[in-house]
């Protein structure tokens, strides 16, 4: 990560509800639209952010879903040549992050286990930090070419 100063930042804190996956997805697209990104790149960001937020809702909080103060946080920061998205939950955490990131790995037999694979392939970097019983933080970055004056 470079040390350049951010040019913009917004933070979202959303209740852990599946309705808010769509909300976060659209908000991420709106924030990303400030950057010189194409429609396709914005679609990729939407998929990656949806996957991370839905993981927080489904796996992070899961049945804890109903608890009033289960929030998922999404911090979006714009730099001159990249946007960072940091998605955090304070839910159950992941025992083995390496294993969880493998294609087709899912703790739920009904799911595809492709969330992390999509995040990794659609973004330019992905870092996952998790502590059992404390929660998970996913940091993703998307690069772009800074606008040239024209």
């Amino acid at each position: 990560m470079s040390t350049q100063a951010p040019t913009n930042q917004v933070k979202l804190s959303v209740l852990s509800l599946s309705e808010n996956v769509g909300f976060a997805r659209l908000s991420a697209a709106a924030f990303a639209s400030q950057a010189e990104l194409t429609i396709n790149e914005i679609e990729e960001i939407k998929v990656a952010v949806s996957e991370a937020v839905s993981n927080a809702v489904i796996h992070g909080y899961g049945k804890l879903n109903q608890k009033q103060d289960n929030y998922v946080e999404i911090v979006m920061t714009l730099y001159q040549d990249r946007i960072d998205f940091v998605i955090s939950d304070y839910g159950r955490g992941i025992a083995d992050v390496e294993a969880a990131r493998q294609p087709s790995y899912s703790s739920d037999p009904e799911r595809m286990g492709l969330g992390f694979v999509f995040m990794e392939s659609f973004m330019d970097s992905l870092a996952v930090v998790s502590t059992l019983g404390q929660g998970t933080t996913v940091t993703m970055s998307k690069k772009f070419t800074a606008k040239t004056s024209h």
Binding site: S18, V21, R25, L26, A29, A30, S33, Q34, A35, E36, L37, T38, I39, N40, I42, K46, V47, S50, E51, S54, I58, R111, M112, L114, F118, K147
Partner: protein
Amino acid sequence: IGEIRRYLRDNNPIRVSRSMRDIAYKALQIRDSLVSKYSREPSINEIAEELKIPREEIIFALDAIQEPISLFEPIYH
């Protein structure tokens, strides 16, 4: 107020309004014409400038015309 009222004429309880659909299709058309003009994908800002519509409106419209559940998100059950 008249100007804003006019802007608010759409009184439709349906989720995707006619005007949203128009914005989305126009954005995709302009993208195609900018692709042939510049030989590269235009940014959403370039499309917004061309259309003279705020970029957030284009984002909203494009999102609205998508399939509500994408292949990537088998999450809603």
